[in-house]
């Protein structure tokens, strides 16, 4: 199980369930993630996508047996906003496209009531850096 950082917890994000070994991260609508009145803030959706991206890559590296020895640094993110974020629970799930020795590419999708109608999607690149004191 991947622990969510303080930012994710203060935004109300949580692991809803696991799917094929990676977590689906969810967030309920609240004043804290409201953008224009009655809709989710694009930045909060971006933050959720990113958390799901981190979580799926951590889960992947854990299966490879190297998660404890590396630190993940986000290199970039590109978000496509596809639909307005409605005032209800939002989910995000990421898939590792490729994880090499130094860089990993992850795709993430967010949806609400209907999974076939994504609210936003993104790709992210991560740098996989050895943790200080461990051999990567």
């Amino acid at each position: 199980m991947v622990a969510l950082p303080p930012y994710a917890l203060s935004m109300g994000m949580f692991t809803d369930h696991d799917e094929d070994g990676a977590p689906v991260i969810a967030m309920d609508f609240s004043e804290r993630n409201t953008g224009r009145p009655g809709f989710l803030h694009g930045g909060a959706i971006g933050g959720l996508l990113e958390m799901a991206g981190f979580a799926t890559l951590h889960a992947h590296l854990e299966r490879e047996g190297i998660d404890a020895t590396v630190r993940l640094k986000p290199v970039n993110i590109s978000i496509e906003y596809l639909r307005s974020g409605l005032p209800e629970r939002i989910f995000a799930y990421g898939e590792v496209v490729r994880a090499g020795r130094r860089v990993a590419n992850v795709r993430v999708e967010a949806w609400q009531a209907d999974r076939t109608k994504p609210v936003a999607s993104c790709w992210m690149n991560f740098l996989i850096a050895p943790k200080k004191g461990s051999e990567g």
Partner: protein
């Protein structure tokens, strides 16, 4: 009036204003919702650019081992600043939604430092605003992030569903 209704009423007033005052907008809007939670505030603006700041806070940290701010709040700050730069350039609040936003995390922000986003709208068409910006933690020549985005200009009813 409920908080959300007040919020909607303020946005409705902004939609009718014949000019755009980034400082006033920031004072009204950045106390509410997500921007309010993040304590975003106005720093400065010019013809087609605006600066917004986001103070470091422990509950916004992404890595508890280092105290480095999560990147989520930086996305939100750049989203707000780039969006406001479009209305700043157009001299009127134009309802808009984010279509696309790309952010490069150039380096980790130093824990404890306030992040400043400087965003610029470099082109607008009838339906789109093209924006770019950086975020830094003290020195604009040594940014922590670089952003490029596109906002879609929409009609007021699409922007906000008012009952």
């Amino acid at each position: 009036m409920a908080l959300s209704e007040e919020h909607a009423a303020e946005v409705a007033r902004m939609l009718q204003a014949d000019h755009f005052d980034p400082s006033l907008w920031s004072k009204m809007m950045n106390v509410r919702g997500h921007s309010g939670f993040l304590d975003m505030n106005y720093v400065a603006h010019g013809d087609d650019w605006i600066e917004l700041a986001l103070p470091w806070r422990e509950d916004l940290v992404g890595d508890p081992e280092t105290g480095v701010l999560a990147s989520g709040p930086i996305i939100s700050l750049l989203d707000n600043a780039t969006s406001m730069s479009a209305s700043t350039r157009m001299k009127k609040f134009r309802p808009q939604v984010t279509l696309d936003l790309r952010i490069d995390y150039v380096r980790a922000a130093v824990p404890g430092r306030t992040i400043v986003a400087r965003a610029e709208c470099y082109q607008t068409t009838r339906s789109m605003a093209f924006v770019r910006g950086i975020a830094h933690d003290g020195d604009p020549t040594d940014p922590v992030a670089h952003a490029a985005g596109i906002f879609m200009l929409v009609q007021a009813p699409q922007f906000m569903k008012v009952k």
